[in-house]
C-alpha cells in the first residue's frame, strides 16, 4: 500500500520538474587537416539549464570527454633475449580509441566513485579496451598500462583534471589539445554533469576530423589508386632528380 502511495509522487517528480539539460557547442565541428596542420585547440563550451532556473549554491562537477574512432591495437612487450631487446609477448585490444581526452573540474576520483567513472568511461584507466587474449588478469592489466602510457606520451590520451572552468555554476568551458598525429574520423565530445557523485545530465556532440585539400587528395590517391600513386611517386622522383642534374650542370 505504501509503495502505491509513493507512485504519484514519483510521477510528479519525473514530469512536473523538467530535467537538467546540458547545452553544448564547439569552437569548430569540423577540424580540417591541411598542409600547415600542426594540431588544434578544440574549445568545448556551453551552459547548464537547471529545472525552473534555480541555480544551486554548490558547484556541480563537469567531465568533458573527447574521443576518436576505436580500432584494434596489438601491444607488444620487449624482453631481453640473448642480450638484445626484442618483442616477445603480445596482447590484442579490440577497441582502443584513436584519441581520448578528458577534462574535469576536479580530480576524477574526487567527482565520482569507481563504478560511475567506469560506466561512463571517465579517465584513461576506465576505458573498456576489450582485451582479446587468454592472458591472466595481471598480465592484461600491465599491458593495458603500457598501452595507456604509450598513447599518453604521443599526446593521444590525456587527462586534464581542473581544466574545466565553471562560471557561476552555469557556464562551462574547456580547451582540448588535439595533436598533429591525430587519427582521422568521426569524433564525439561527451559532456557529463555530475552532482554529488551522480551523473544527472549528459550530452554528446559530433566532430569530424578529416584531411582536406592537397592532403586529402594525396591520401585518397594512395589508398584508392595505389598503383597509379606509386607510378606517380616514381615519376616525380625521376623528374626531380633529372631537373636537379640539369640545374647543377648549368651552375
Amino acid at each position: 500500500m505504501r509503495r502505491l502511495a509513493a507512485l504519484p509522487a514519483l510521477w510528479l517528480a519525473l514530469c512536473g520538474a523538467a530535467p537538467t539539460v546540458l547545452i553544448t557547442d564547439l569552437s569548430q565541428s569540423r577540424i580540417d587537416i591541411n598542409t600547415t596542420f600542426k594540431g588544434a585547440d578544440l574549445l568545448v563550451f556551453g551552459a547548464i539549464q537547471y529545472p525552473a532556473g534555480t541555480v544551486p549554491d554548490a558547484a556541480p562537477d563537469i567531465a568533458i570527454v573527447v574521443r576518436g574512432p576505436a580500432e584494434p591495437v596489438t601491444v607488444r612487450r620487449k624482453e631481453r633475449v640473448a642480450g638484445i631487446w626484442i618483442n616477445t609477448e603480445a596482447v590484442r585490444f579490440e577497441s582502443v580509441p584513436g584519441f581520448y581526452a578528458v577534462a574535469t573540474t576536479r580530480p576524477i576520483d574526487a567527482i565520482a566513485d569507481d563504478r560511475i567513472t567506469a560506466i561512463y568511461e571517465i579517465g584513461t584507466g576506465n576505458l573498456q579496451l576489450s582485451p582479446a587474449s587468454s592472458a591472466s588478469e595481471d598480465k592484461t592489466r600491465s599491458f593495458e598500462r603500457g598501452l595507456i602510457a604509450s598513447k599518453a606520451r604521443s599526446g593521444l590520451f590525456a587527462e586534464e583534471p581542473g581544466a574545466v572552468t565553471l562560471t557561476r555554476n552555469v557556464l562551462y568551458r574547456a580547451r582540448i589539445a588535439i595533436p598533429s598525429a591525430v587519427p582521422v574520423g568521426e569524433y564525439a565530445a561527451e559532456i557529463h554533469l555530475i552532482d554529488k557523485g551522480r551523473v544527472v545530465a549528459s550530452s554528446s556532440t559530433p566532430i569530424i576530423i578529416g584531411k582536406s585539400g592537397f592532403e586529402r587528395w594525396i591520401y585518397v590517391m594512395a589508398q584508392e589508386q595505389s598503383l597509379l600513386y606509386g607510378l606517380a611517386a616514381v615519376a616525380a622522383a625521376l623528374v626531380a632528380g633529372w631537373i636537379a642534374s640539369v640545374v647543377t650542370r648549368r651552375l
Partner: protein
C-alpha cells in the same frame, strides 16, 4: 616551417627534413654512396613511422640516383647487359623482400629485424672498408704502389654454368652470379629502404670481379630500377609511400650532394675511404647500442594493419 605529411599522418618541420636530406646528400656526394642506410634510421629517429620511412626513402633514392646515372651514361660507363641481369634479380628480390617484410610485420619483429640486419651489414662492410683503407694508407705512406689484385673473381663464381660475355664489365661469367647478387640487394632494398650501393659496389668488385670503370654507373642504373620497383610494391601493399616526405628529402639531398662532391675534390681518396669506413662503423655501433640497452618504454603499439 611546419608541414603535415599526408601519409605519415604527422606534422614535421620541413626545414629539418630538408637539412637531413642535405646532410645525407653531402655525405653521399662526398663518398659516392646512396646514403639510404643513413636516411632511414634518421627518419625513424625523428619519429616517422618505420614503414613510411623505409618506403619513402626508397622513393627518394630513385630520384637521387638519376643525376649520377645520367652522368655515367654520357661517359658510356654503364654496362646495360650486366645492369639488366642485376635489375631482373633485384625485382625478384624486391618481391621476396616484400613477403619477408609482411611476415616480420605480422609477428611484430620488423623493427628489431631491420636493426639487426643493419648492424650485421654495416658492421661487416664497415670493417672490410676500414681494413682496406688502413692498408692503402700504410702503402701510400711507404711510397709503394698498391698491390695488384690476384684472381679476378671467386672460384665458385667461375664454376657456375652458362657463361655469358659482359663486354663493358670485362667479364665472361654465368649470369646466375649477378642475378643472385641482384636478388640479395633487392631484398635489402625493400626491407631496409636502401639503394644497396654500399653492398652492390664492393660485391661487384670483389665477388664478380667487374672492371672498376663500369661498377659505379651500373650500380646506380640498377638502383634506379630496383628502388622504383620497391616504391611500387610499398605503394600497392602497405600504402606507406609519402611522396611529400620523399620530395623534401630529395630537395635537400640534391643540394647537399653538390657540396659533397666539391668537398671530396679537396680530400685525398684514401682518407675519404677511411672516413666513410669509420662513419659506417659508427652507425653500426650506435644501432647495436640501441638494441642492447634497455629501452625507455618496453611496450610498443601496433595498429590493425
Amino acid at each position: 616551417m611546419d608541414l603535415y605529411l599526408p601519409i605519415a599522418e604527422m606534422s614535421v618541420n620541413a626545414v629539418v627534413i630538408i637539412l637531413l636530406g642535405g646532410g645525407v646528400g653531402f655525405l653521399s656526394g662526398m663518398f659516392g654512396v646512396g646514403g639510404g642506410f643513413l636516411t632511414t634510421p634518421l627518419l625513424i629517429f625523428y619519429g616517422i613511422p618505420p614503414a613510411v620511412a623505409v618506403a619513402s626513402s626508397a622513393t627518394q633514392i630513385t630520384g637521387s640516383s638519376v643525376s649520377g646515372a645520367l652522368a655515367y651514361w654520357q661517359r658510356g660507363q654503364i654496362d646495360l647487359k650486366m645492369g639488366g641481369v642485376l635489375v631482373a634479380g633485384g625485382v625478384i628480390g624486391a618481391g621476396l623482400g616484400q613477403i619477408i617484410f609482411r611476415q616480420l610485420q605480422k609477428i611484430g619483429q620488423i623493427d628489431v629485424s631491420i636493426n639487426i640486419i643493419y648492424v650485421l651489414f654495416l658492421g661487416v662492410i664497415g670493417g672490410l672498408m676500414l681494413k682496406e683503407a688502413l692498408s692503402e694508407l700504410r702503402a701510400s705512406k711507404a711510397g709503394a704502389a698498391p698491390a695488384a689484385r690476384g684472381r679476378r673473381h671467386m672460384p665458385w663464381i667461375a664454376a657456375l654454368p652458362g657463361k655469358m660475355r659482359f663486354y663493358k664489365s670485362g667479364l665472361y661469367i654465368s649470369p646466375l652470379a649477378p642475378l643472385g647478387l641482384g636478388v640479395i640487394v633487392g631484398i635489402l632494398t625493400v626491407i631496409m629502404g636502401i639503394g644497396g650501393g654500399f653492398v652492390m659496389v664492393p660485391a661487384m668488385i670483389y665477388v664478380l670481379g667487374m672492371s672498376a670503370s663500369a661498377v659505379v654507373g651500373t650500380s646506380l642504373f640498377q638502383i634506379i630500377f630496383v628502388t622504383a620497383a620497391a616504391t611500387l610494391l610499398h605503394a600497392t601493399s602497405s600504402k606507406s609511400v609519402d611522396i611529400v616526405l620523399a620530395l623534401l628529402l630529395l630537395a635537400g639531398g640534391v643540394a647537399g650532394a653538390q657540396f659533397g662532391v666539391a668537398a671530396a675534390q679537396k680530400l685525398r681518396p684514401e682518407k675519404l675511404r677511411l672516413a666513410l669506413a669509420l662513419m659506417v662503423l659508427l652507425v653500426a655501433v650506435r644501432l647495436l647500442f640501441g638494441l642492447t640497452v634497455q629501452p625507455a618504454e618496453l611496450y610498443t603499439l601496433y595498429g590493425p594493419a
